[in-house]
């Protein structure tokens, strides 16, 4: 049936690596049927890489699980087929499924730390695949496991074989998972958010590895991710999933340069472009939220959130029309002529209508390029935010060491920095660089060993318990995961009421709570509910409202939007910017997402191995001349820009241990611009590029500028990006 719609030249002889036809998957919960996938059709040719994007809850992972025949017990395939390499998955016997998994299809997971069996040696886990798929004995299988580890470029495969998962870094763990997935050369590799949660440089390494492996293996790839940059780097084709429906599909380049569905456009607009700052442009958000599972939808699944919705959109659901072409306009005319039937379901809903490489489920694809922007919230300039009033926070020579058994880990080493009123100081660096420890020392959650925290001219006591009520009120914190920072047993109103009582300055508590919730745009009805009944974005809004309960002067935000979907992340960032403009609050903003930090920060500090190696305005830090480490970090971000030819700088080796930092310049073991013995033996001086922009390196600014603006070919350790 679906073959009819395919281009005539599609190779019928070679079966597709993955062929999903009209797939409908329903979950059954408490007697209710909740459709998750509603007629999904997609095809991945052999050796092709296909990216499936969409926010969480759109059905991406369900599709992957259906392809692996591993749906949860309460999920059923109601209609449609999944063919892997031409084989109908549902027709396999239990034994055949076992052989087929691993040999035909394999998966790489989001969180490698939990994807590996914790009590089994790496070697045994990889060898298992060979033992059970190829019937090898233990010794042979271990030998093959060693080869597999070598293939994913794990340093020292012999010792890795004997290690347990917890002894490896996140990047190494993910390499092991990839080695395991590729062990017996499957034809289809499913990557489910393979780099989410990994540091930028590690993410880049894993991407390099996947790209490099693609040249050698013949596996097709299904990449599931919310990170559009990742898709743009790895995939030839893209499908956008929304509420269980494919809403747009086509070649990656076309989709990312010229999206033709409002949802795709919305997704692209809410990610901060690299180099964007809050004072230049506001982030776009997608209004509303993803419809709940089982919620009845009228017409187009996206109509409730679409900024260009028209009456015809809710009259009848659009098909997946070919673009460019006339089928969208024809479809619209047909929908306007036909009797209104929002729930109408035609067989076309699953399958693309009309020929051509790309399709969009929209009557108005032609107008998407001019989609109206939502009301922008531009940040006021730093001066308007009261920055002239002087420094709010000053950290002087702060150090903090932890004891781990007999080892001493210095997490923060002699860091000094200052922060003005209304200013946002972005703190970047890989995990383990000391960002969070520094933040906790500022808020008094832990005490620094040495150094001072001066707040509004007065030196603060080391720990929160000994600080004055006023200092506690004025310095607040927003954490990454609102699930674990809001008491699940309390209603949100109770949470905010308590915060206002503890921190507020008198007046009506109730009125203040209402004002706070209005400020963070949480509707009053949600105040009656408990955190578990709220969405991730709403929970984070409540957490922010709680931090603002006592009209703080400084809010430390530790990865406040990292766990959220991109559209929600954009709205949280906008909220923080808006509150800053209104309340003249200062932020210390910690994030591993450099584009986000660049967007929200006025000044940025880069941390490496417990030291603050570079400080300057957001603009200056992100442009040459800058520290070689910053340069490498920036080069590792996958972007959406197809025309940009960037050279990725691969850092050598892994991050050294905090208990035994390298001599001289701490970065010398990984630096691609190392000068020689001077870097190994001498601590680098603080160089000033321009006033207020300093970095620690032996290379002077003009030399660094020359090196960093020179042609990429001159760089010593590089791997070019295709």
């Amino acid at each position: 049936m679906s073959a009819v719609e395919r281009p005539a030249n599609a190779p019928e002889a070679a079966p597709a690596a993955l062929d999903v036809r009209d797939l409908e998957v329903t979950f059954h919960r408490r007697g209710r049927d909740l459709p998750v996938l509603k007629g999904v059709t997609l095809r991945i040719e052999q050796g092709e890489a296909y990216g499936l994007v969409g926010e969480s809850g759109c059905g991406k992972t369900t599709l992957a699980m259906a392809a692996l025949r591993y749906l949860a017990a309460n999920g059923t395939v109601d209609a449609g087929q999944v063919l892997v390499g031409g084989q109908d998955v549902s027709k396999l016997s239990e034994d055949a499924v076992r052989k087929w998994r691993g040999e035909q299809i394999a998966m790489v997971y989001q969180d490698p730390a939990t994807a590996l069996s914790p009590a089994m040696r790496i070697g045994d886990q990889v060898a298992e695949v060979f033992r059970y798929h190829e019937g090898m004995n233990k010794a042979e299988a271990l030998e093959r496991a060693r080869e597999s580890l070598r293939r994913v470029a794990l340093p020292d495969p012999d010792s890795t074989l004997r290690r347990y998962p917890f002894e490896l870094s996140g990047g190494q763990q993910q390499r092991v998972v990839i080695a395991m997935a590729l062990a017996v050369n499957p034809h289809l590799l499913v990557l489910d958010e393979p780099t989410t949660g990994l540091d930028a440089t590690v993410e880049a390494e894993i991407l390099d590895l996947i790209e490099e492996l693609r040249g050698r293996i013949n596996a097709a790839i299904l990449l599931i991710t919310h990170n559009l940059g990742l898709v743009r780097r790895l995939c030839e084709r893209v499908g956008v999933l929304y509420a269980g429906r494919v809403v747009e599909e086509g070649p990656a380049r076309d989709i990312f340069t010229d999206p033709r569905h409002p949802y795709t456009m919305g997704l692209m607009r809410c990610v901060p472009r690299f180099g964007m700052n809050k004072t230049d442009a506001a982030l776009q958000t997608i209004p509303g939220t993803l419809p709940a599972l089982g919620e009845p939808l009228e017409g187009c699944v996206y109509s409730a959130r679409c900024p260009m919705v028209k009456p015809v959109c809710v009259r009848r659901e659009p098909d997946l029309f070919a673009w460019p072409g006339s089928s969208g306009a024809e479809g619209r005319a047909a929908a306007e002529a036909a009797p209104a039937d929002p729930a109408a379901y035609s067989p076309h809903h699953a399958n693309p209508v009309g020929e051509g490489p790309r399709h969009a489920r929209c009557y108005f694809s032609a107008e998407v390029a001019d989609m109206p922007h939502a009301t922008p919230v531009l940040a006021s300039s730093l001066e308007e935010r009261g920055a002239d009033a002087g420094d709010v926070l000053e950290i002087g020579n702060m150090s903090r060491t932890f004891k781990d058994g007999r080892k001493r880990l210095t997490a923060v080493n002699e860091v000094s920095l200052s922060l003005r009123r209304g200013e946002t100081f972005g703190l970047v660096g890989e995990s383990g660089s000391g960002k969070t420890t520094l933040a906790k020392c500022v808020t008094g959650l832990i005490a620094p060993d040495t150094g001072t925290v001066t707040f509004e001219g007065k030196q603060l006591k080391a720990t929160a318990g000994r600080r004055s009520q006023d200092a506690l009120r004025a310095i607040q914190m927003v954490f990454q995961n609102p699930d674990s920072t809001l008491n699940p047993a309390w209603s949100t109103r109770a949470i905010l009421t308590r915060a206002v009582r503890k921190l507020g300055s008198g007046g009506s508590v109730r009125a203040k709570v209402d004002k706070l919730s209005a400020d963070v745009r949480v509707e009053p009805r949600f105040l009656m509910q408990r955190p578990t009944d709220l969405s991730g974005g709403q929970k984070q809004r409540i957490a922010i409202a709680r931090a603002f309960a006592g009209d703080p002067t400084l809010v430390v935000c530790d990865e406040p939007a990292s766990a959220l979907d991109v559209s929600v992340q954009a709205s949280i960032l906008n909220l923080l910017v808006e509150l800053q403009t209104k309340e003249q609050v200062s932020y210390v903003f910690i994030s591993h997402d450099l584009a986000v930090v660049r967007y929200i920060s006025d000044r940025i500090g880069v941390m490496y191995l417990a030291e603050l190696i570079e400080v300057g305005s957001a603009e200056e830090v992100f442009n040459p001349p800058h520290h070689p480490y910053t340069e490498a970090l920036l080069s590792s971000i996958p972007t959406l820009n197809f025309d940009e030819k960037r050279t990725r700088i691969a850092l050598r080796g892994t991050m050294p241990s905090l208990s035994d930092p390298p001599t001289g310049c701490r970065f010398h073991t990984r630096c691609h611009r190392i000068l020689g013995d001077i870097c190994v033996n001498q601590e680098p001086p603080v160089q000033e590029a321009v006033s207020g922009h300093t970095y620690q390196c032996h290379i002077p600014p003009d030399e660094l500028l020359r090196l960093q603006t020179a042609a990429p070919a001159e760089q010593p350790v590089t791997s070019s990006e295709a």
Partner: protein, 315 residues
């Protein structure tokens, strides 16, 4: 690993000292007077005071604890002023009996309980799961004196399949002992079955939901390999901890069963000593139960470390 064990052993020393202090202090504040309970209510006050002085019962508490603890470590546990027998052999013998009874019950019930629990966990929410959960739970809620009496009546008095008492006549061969132990051990097994099976079930259910089990399944491993290679080892951790903490209770808390079956274990000895105000006997037996409890927990910790490389290597 050795360092872990060494550290735990070292840790036991202050725990034991603290426990002995508590036991000593509590035993000393028991109502009644040593001299009076030995000499009887008609003895003149002067004689009672003299005896108390002789026994050292009128010295300050800390001094008495020091003397007692010192003697205890030397192996001189004193002589029971009430029963007029040396404390050490009496306590150790009773303790031996209790260990045999508890050990027997555990050896039989732990494998059964784990098997049932794992089965229930693997078939979560099935009829089998419900059946196992409900039946083991109902066994657990029957108090041991009820199940004990019923069993005694049915199997010993009515059917006469098993002996009424828990101790074989002197001179019977060693294995005879276990035949006599069957009846008193069953109420203990009932108590433990539900508890251990529940932990094994919860552990299994939790591990089955872990992403690494999904990895194992999607690697294409046979189900048996997934269960034996990946599920069980990780699922046993909470169960082992629970068993460790149950051992102390099984040894010291069996007063009812020991009384019912006339079994001369440590539970009976403790109760009798408390009633008779036999302080040295009471203190020694409670302390020995505490020691056993700690040893059981140590063994459980070691097993957990063996199951979990992270703990093993972090130690």
């Amino acid at each position: 690993m050795l360092r872990l064990i060494g550290r735990r052993l070292l840790f036991m020393v202050p725990t034991l000292i603290l426990a002995s202090m508590l036991i000593f202090a509590l035993a000393e504040v028991l109502p009644g007077n040593v001299g009076r309970s030995i000499l009887g209510i008609y003895a003149p006050q002067q004689a009672v005071d003299n005896l108390n002085h002789q026994l050292g019962a009128d010295r300050p508490l800390v001094v008495r604890w020091g003397t007692w603890a010192g003697h205890f470590v030397e192996g001189n546990w004193g002589i029971s002023p009430v029963q007029k027998v040396p404390v050490r052999p009496t306590v150790l013998k009773a303790l031996g009996y209790s260990v045999v009874l508890a050990g027997f019950a555990l050896v039989v019930i732990v494998p059964i309980a784990i098997l049932l629990g794992v089965f229930a966990g693997l078939r979560r929410d099935s009829v089998l799961d419900r059946g196992i959960t409900i039946s083991t739970l109902s066994m657990t809620v029957i108090p041991e004196f009820v199940s004990g009496v019923v069993l005694l009546w049915v199997f010993a008095v009515w059917l006469k399949w098993l002996p009424v008492t828990a101790l074989p006549p002197d001179g019977s061969p060693f294995y005879e002992r276990f035949y006599y132990l069957i009846l008193p051990a069953i109420p203990l097994m009932f108590l433990e079955l539900g508890y251990i099976a529940r932990m094994a079930r919860v552990g299994t259910v939790q591990v089955l939901a872990m992403p690494y089990i999904r990895t194992a399944v999607l690697k294409g491993l046979p189900r048996r390999r997934v269960i034996f290679g990946h599920v069980l080892r990780n699922a046993m951790v909470p169960t082992v901890t629970v068993i460790g903490s149950q051992v102390g209770w099984l040894i010291g808390g069996l007063v009812v069963v020991e009384t019912l079956f006339a079994y001369p274990g440590i539970g009976q000895l403790m109760v009798r000593s408390a009633q008779q105000h036999d302080i040295p006997m009471l203190e020694a037996s409670v302390l020995m139960v505490a020691v056993l409890y700690m040893v059981a927990n140590l063994i459980a910790d070691i097993v957990v470390a063996l199951l979990n490389p992270r703990i093993r290597m972090g130690g």
